[in-house]
Symmetry: C2
Subunit: 320 residues, 2 copies
């Protein structure tokens, strides 16, 4: 915000206002707009300089006023400023304090940087890094290591649960070793569908297309997508097993049951992925965290652990 | 771009210019700037209206000129416009044709929308979806399914290679079933570190912090990060095995070799992840694809397949 702003009184004449612009225009970053304030300094209107130039020099400012103006308050956050600029298509917007006193103006070129910074932060968080303070190449080795290691270690500790899940099911694995062949395929499918859902919802939240209250609407949509996408992948997975079996007897005499287990698991894990991916941003926002912290690796880690349990659970019911 | 722009001649007087602003200012979206053109209509300077207001009405425009101005050419793309606005902190920039003729102006509020759209596209691609044409909630079921299914199916087909990798090593797996316990942990660690690297590089490219020629500098940095981060995760993994072995004899009498295999594999797979993640955006840009298409799931899929080969390869050398 710049405090240099062209403020004129409503009792002035057009000529007085033009003289004021001539005298003080040099300090001002303002554009073609002057701001009308009342005796106490409260903002009551904005006028384009061209309205002054076109007006009769002897007429009063009050006669040109329409009382319609857009302003930001000093306590508004950057996101609100971005929203107002986007909505009103202005190049400068005045800023007032909580009592409506004119403090200065914000120009849209300041907002450009804010928008780019916010998008960068979101993208870095989605990718599973703490947001960096400096550009990639200017970030020191130690700071970069810290930002990345903290998340990687956290994810690794979460991922260690897959070890427990696998150990828990090691009896089943030993009895049907064919099951382990599909482990990477199944957990990754859940992670991928979850990453998609999470990034779509995070971005929709950042652009105010989706608010906290929409969680149920989003959930309903995502359940439909999850089941459909899951069935698509399940069909492909089943086809692959059918093919492998016909060509090379790759999956033993229980191949059709294996196909059923894999197909059901893929459907379930994709549905799980989109539900976790789409709801985690809502949960984080509800808890006043940044929704973008539900990074794609974070979603993938949750889905990996739960997906393994789902897969071996289904296998235990059908195959063993 | 708007074609309504205040253009004045260099031979005019300040008074003539002000009269022109008075007469034609109404049509113009311009701000406080008028553009000086020569006889043929070629842009030769910009002047602030305040320079006119402050000047002697009888003096000539040529006397106020400094010949310094910033302009866009009509053939420049949106990204170039964003770059120029960010660099020069202007609220409006004139546009010329290839011969320098003034065509109109672009105001920064038009650029706001471009920046947000581009960030949205990048985020959606990073998350492994085709960029959507409409906001999340307004995108129809069918279009949303198409955008998501196309990527998911592609990733799934890639992921099917993990099935072949697992089958290729099934002899080793049967001889040392303990190996399969670590499969999810190892492939996910590679995927996570790759996602980090990819998003950092994609964003740095989008902001022009990193260009194609920097690939080797980035590679060197990422190798250092990859080895360091890999060793951190390897230590944690080894500690976990040591702990599990001490408390519950969880990994059999070969546990120290298992620990070595897992530690080496984690280091290798994290290094692999950051190299694939950081170099894929360069490769895609080199091939004239959008670097953002090296989505985190895409990177994870490549690293899953190669990571499995690495893991079982190391296991074959040390354990079997």
């Amino acid at each position: 915000m710049t405090p240099y702003v062209l403020a004129i009184g409503q009792g002035w004449t057009v000529q007085q206002a033009l003289d004021h612009v001539r005298r003080h225009g040099e300090d001002s970053e303002t554009l073609n707009v002057v701001y009308v304030v009342d005796e106490s300094g409260k903002l009551i209107d904005d006028l384009r300089i061209r309205q002054l130039l076109l007006g009769d020099p002897g007429s009063s400012i009050a006669g040109l006023m329409d009382g319609l103006f857009v302003a930001l308050r000093a306590q508004d956050d950057q996101e609100e400023a971005v929203r107002v600029f986007s909505e009103y298509d202005r190049v400068a917007i005045p800023v007032t304090d909580s009592k409506g006193m004119l403090l200065g103006i914000v120009t849209v070129d300041d907002v450009l940087d804010v928008i780019e910074e916010e998008a960068t932060e979101d993208i870095q968080k989605i990718g599973g890094t703490q947001a960096l303070d400096h550009p990639y190449m200017q970030t020191g080795y130690l700071q970069m290591l810290r930002s990345r290691a903290s998340w990687l270690v956290l994810l690794f500790l979460g991922q260690l649960l897959t070890l427990d899940a696998m150990r828990f099911f090691s009896d089943q694995i030993e009895r049907a070793i064919v099951l382990v062949l599909f482990v990477p395929l199944i957990i990754s499918s859940g992670g991928n569908s979850g990453s998609q859902a999470a990034t779509l919802v995070i971005r929709a939240m950042a652009l105010d297309e989706v608010s906290l209250g929409d969680w149920w609407k989003v959930m309903r949509r995502e359940i439909v997508f999850g089941v459909t996408l899951g069935l698509v992948l399940a069909s492909l997975g089943f086809l692959r097993i059918l093919l492998g079996q016909s060509l090379a007897d790759a999956f033993g005499n229980q191949w059709s049951r294996v196909g059923l287990v894999v197909g059901l698991s893929l459907t379930g894990v994709v549905l799980l992925g989109v539900i976790v991916g789409s709801m985690l941003p809502f949960l984080l926002r509800r808890l006043n965290f940044d929704p973008a912290a539900s990074s794609t690796p974070f979603v993938a880690t949750i889905v990996d652990v739960t997906g393994l349990v789902l897969y071996f659970g289904i296998a235990a019911a059908i195959l063993l």
